[in-house]
Every structure is written in structure tokens, then in C-alpha cells.
Symmetry: C2
């Protein structure tokens, strides 16, 4: 298996990307291909004392930046690390593509270059959501690939998320929940009511509506919502958590007595903060396109890159894309049965 | 001025309601009318040793419960404390109505019995949102009165929220922000883009889009969003905050050393938790109906009731409803100018 890594994506490229790839290579048997500025990448490989032969470099001359407009960037920067990586995934010279680059461009690129899986109306970006009760994260779909979703899209998110969590995270019969105003079936917009109905009749392990207050409490393995709500959930969770950590810190710094208290608690509080750290969870999948593509956080460090590479392997190895493809054919056949 | 209080609404009625009313009466000059089961209310007044003459009781025989369907309850339970209170507000025998009862019924009742302000398409329920940076709360509109809002509704929310915050919270030229996927004007759904345009041209102090991560950081005084998103924001904030407090508590209880740390920090952490307490902020207004109606949290204690009464007075006294009414007439005149 050959893992393709975008060497030029994210705030810390190529330094942290290469460092993370080297660290990953030390623990896995897969080949790793880093795409990007050859000189810069070789320099980093040297800096990290990499002497093996399982990491290779594919030189590219262009870079898609965070400020590039997605569609234009994918169409015009043909020799960018992102476009080249996606193309290698498409032609089979790579099995998994991971990038910390421009999210919009990655989604558009995956859709344009790999194509949607037949039957999937809208590919989705998933995100790993920290569960603050059991500390087992769950998968939130959609994290913002679309801002206006229809009920059928939400069904697809549930279906794809469920397959991913089962195969990649190795959780049996994942529980799927729908973000809504209230727990009752009758709650919500006409769209969420329709989505409820579709999810309920889908054969998935649908546990029903999940209210905002239960989202962080690990009540399900896959959280389904439209991309607008998903974006608000992810960013608000980060905002609230960081604000509270700042308040705790300020409480500790308040006076001599509280500072002593802080010393006694330091290691626990540091551990707690690291539980919220997305770095350990690896990257999040783009779902619904013809190939396993993963998105790392833009500010990923070497540790995050290493996790992303190692934890991303089953996305390709377990054939998740094929399973989704097959599942969508079954859905289509069932629909024909009804006609 | 005469303040009408629903003596039968909420989890702790009538005990905490009456106790809070008695505490409020000790600090304000206004008359207070408590509506509900006369015997039960008089018993509580006696228990709280109330001997004044500024609290009176209006006996009612029916109660709208949390489980009642809103429209049916308002139509059928004519002698409920809620319907009677709203009717007194309408006929001018009261100036402000406060309830901790069934939220849906209160909104429906306000709309049916008082009527919408001319020009307002959808009345909104506001909510006091804790600001975790400056500790000055802001007002979130809509908190869930409608689950499907149009761009024009969001403009109305901004307008009404701005007037309320200026007059009731005494903040000059309140900053209004729109919850969205990103900061740029071009982000979001077709609806939020349209709302952005309307808010920008409204004459309000519109600061633009606010992302989820900035919602808790006090970047604006009025947070505008549709009711679905508002509901998710409020409940998720509560869920994340409570989950983190539990984790902090568990960290403290972990071993002997951390327990000592906890002792040193106890008063600070307790204070911090109370900053998140909605009780001190008073109640939240129903906006866009012909009369000042306020909703208290269902689990309000006497302290919350006291705050709600005292902090609610300017909603009536400053003529907020009249100002909104006048503002909507101006909007209408301006629109005619364009024609």
C-alpha cells in the first residue's frame, strides 16, 4: 500500500509534515510518498535523519494556499501537490491521500478529480468530535462540505459515517444520531423531520434525535447534521472549551493560595486539555468520493501527521469506498423494487 | 406599574415563584400580581411572612403543563394562569407578564392573545447568552420560537434585539452579529447571505458574521441566528460547559494531592461556575408581540424569579414594545419611499 501525503498543505508544511511522515514510517510497513517542493522536502528528510527507502518524493512546482478560491485553484494549479496527489489516487499509483491544505480545495478537488460515488448526491467532510464523557470520539458528518443539505443528504451522511466508523474505528453497529431541537420525532424543521424518517427506515442503528446538550456526551458514534450546523457545532465547542480553560487558568493565577492549588492540579489539568486535542485522533475523511481522501487540521504538527497516517490506513485497507459504493447500489436496487 | 407573574409555571411553582416575588417586592415599588391557585399562593405568601399590600393574587383554576400542546392549551385552558396573565396584559390591567411555564405555549399565547407587532413576520424568543470573556452576557435571538427563519426574520431579530439591549440593558449602540460559517460576506447559505445584506443596510451597528468559536467571546451584544441554530448553540454551550466542569471535578477527586489542590481552588471554581449561572441574568424577552412578555427558565429558583422581576421592569417602563412598533412603521415608510 502506498500513502500519498500533501507535503505543502497546512501552516507547518513541509517541516511538520515530513517529520510526521518519518515518525510514521518508523512504525508502519507501508510506502509513503510526499508530494511537493523536492528540495525543501529532501532537506527536511535529512534534518530528520531519514535513511530508509520507504519514503519517496514526487516533485511538484505549485502550491494551493489557504487563500486560493477552491474551484479556480484545482482547475489552474495542475502541478500542485494537491492536484497531483488526487490524480495519483485516481490512477491507482497511490491508495490514500492525506492533506492539511485548503479544505474547500480538497473537497472540490476530490469531487472533480475522483468523482462522486454513484448514488451519492453530495460528498461530505467528516470531523472527529471529542466526546467529553466516555472520551471515545465520535464522527460528525457533515462538518461543512455543503452549507445547504437536503434530507436525502443527511441519510447519506449517516450511511457513510456508519460504514467508516465500523471499518476504520472498528466499532460494531455504530449508533447514528440526528442533531435536532428536541428528542421527539415531531421536532425540528421539515428537512430534519424528513431526514428522521429516512434514517429510521434505513436499516442503520439510528438512535433518533440528539439535542445540542447531548452532543458532547457520547450518546452516539455518528452525529448527522447539515454542514452549517456541523460547522457551528465544531467551532462553538472549541470556543466554549478554550474559553473555560482560560477561565480556569485565570482562577489559578488569581492569588498565592490558588497558585498553590494549581501546582497540585497541574498534571491533571494538562492531561484534561490534551484529551480535547484533536492531534491524537488523526485526520477526518472526505466521504462519498471515489477514493480515500483525508483532511488534517491546518495547524497539524508532526504528532498529528503521524496519527493521521497510521490511523488513515484502514480507510484504504478495509475498502471503505467500495463498501459505500456497494451499499449505494443496494439502495438503488431497493428503490427499483418499490417502483 | 403592575407586574404580572404566572404563579403556576415551571418546575418549582408556586413555592419558588412566590418566594422570589416576595424578595423582589422588598426592593422595588411596583405592584406585583401573582396568578394561580389562590390557596396555594396565599399559603406560600404566609410561609414567606409577606405582610405588605403590593402583592395581590388573581385566582385561576387551570394550569398549562410542560406536556400540553401549545395551541390547544392556549385555546382550551382559558382560566389558566398563563392565558389570564396574557389577557390582563392585553387589556391594560397589567404592564409586564413573566412566566416560567411551557415555552411553546407562552410564545403561541403571546402571538394569539396580544398579536404580532405590525410589520413583524415572526415573534422571537430571545435568550441571555453567557459571555465567557468579558462576563457581560449578550442577547441571542432567536432561541427557538421558529425553526425555519427567512432572511427578513433575521433582520427583525437584529432590530428587536438591538432595541431591547439598548433600552433594557442600557448599552449604547449595541453591536449586532450574524452567526455564520465564516467571517467573509460571501460565506453561508443563500438565506444567511441575504440576511447579511439586509443587516448591513439596516442602520444597525452590524459587525458582520460571527463564527461559532467567537460566539462565547463577547464580540457582540446581539447574536442573530435562526431558531434551529439558536437552540443548538444554547444547548451545546450548556452541554460542553457542564461536561468540562465534570471533568475538572473528576480531576480534583483523582488522588490525595489533587484533592488538596481542589481545596485551595474551591472558592474560585465555585465562583466561575456561578458566572455561567443564568439565574442572575433575569428572564429573556419574547420579542415582536404587542406587550412585554418574559420567559424564565423552567427550573427557576426564587433568586432567578427575583432577578427576572427586577430586571424585567425596563422592558415595560422604557416602552420597548412601542419603540419596536414605531421602528417597524419607519421601515414600512422607507419601503414605500422606494416604491
Amino acid at each position: 500500500m502506498r500513502i500519498l501525503i500533501d507535503g505543502m498543505g497546512g501552516d507547518n508544511a513541509p517541516q511538520e509534515i515530513v517529520k510526521g511522515a518519518v515518525e510514521a514510517a518508523a512504525t508502519i510497513d507501508e510506502e509513503i510518498v510526499i508530494l511537493g517542493d523536492e528540495e525543501a522536502i529532501r532537506k527536511e528528510l535529512k534534518k530528520n535523519k531519514y535513511k530508509g527507502d520507504r519514503i519517496t518524493v514526487v516533485p511538484t512546482t505549485e502550491v494551493i494556499t489557504m487563500h486560493d478560491a477552491p474551484v479556480k485553484a484545482i482547475r489552474q494549479k495542475k502541478d500542485s501537490s494537491m492536484v497531483r496527489g488526487l490524480s495519483m489516487l485516481k490512477d491507482g499509483t497511490g491508495d490514500l491521500f492525506i492533506s492539511a491544505g485548503n479544505t474547500g480545495a480538497l473537497i472540490v478537488g476530490a469531487r472533480l478529480l475522483l468523482g462522486r460515488i454513484r448514488g451519492i448526491d453530495r460528498p461530505a467532510l467528516a470531523s472527529v468530535y471529542p466526546d467529553m464523557k466516555t472520551m471515545n470520539p465520535c464522527l460528525l458528518v457533515d462538518a461543512g462540505a455543503s452549507s445547504e443539505s437536503k434530507a436525502q443528504n443527511l441519510l447519506e451522511y449517516g450511511l457513510m459515517g456508519s460504514i467508516y466508523v465500523e471499518k476504520v474505528w472498528d466499532r460494531e453497529n455504530p449508533r447514528v444520531g440526528l442533531v435536532n431541537l428536541g428528542e421527539e420525532e415531531s421536532k425540528g424543521t421539515s428537512m430534519t423531520k424528513d431526514a428522521y424518517h429516512r434514517l429510521k427506515n434505513s436499516g442503520l442503528n439510528f438512535i433518533g434525535n440528539v439535542e445540542g446538550r447531548d452532543v458532547p456526551k457520547g450518546v452516539c458514534d455518528v452525529i448527522v447534521c447539515d454542514g452549517f450546523v456541523g460547522n457551528v457545532i465544531l467551532k462553538l465547542t472549541e470556543g466554549v472549551a478554550m474559553s473555560i480553560f482560560k477561565l480556569v487558568k485565570a482562577s489559578i493565577m488569581e492569588n498565592f493560595k490558588t497558585k498553590i492549588g494549581g501546582v497540585f492540579l497541574k498534571s491533571q489539568l494538562t492531561k484534561m486539555k490534551s484529551d480535547f486535542d484533536y492531534e491524537e485522533y488523526g485526520a477526518a475523511p472526505v466521504l462519498g468520493v471515489n477514493g480515500p481522501v483525508m483532511k488534517m487540521h491546518g495547524s497539524s504538527t508532526a504528532t498529528a501527521v503521524k496519527s493521521a497516517v497510521i490511523r488513515g490506513i484502514p480507510y484504504a485497507k478495509e475498502g471503505v469506498v467500495d463498501i459505500i459504493r456497494q451499499e449505494m447500489l443496494n439502495v438503488e436496487l431497493e428503490e427499483e423494487d418499490y417502483e
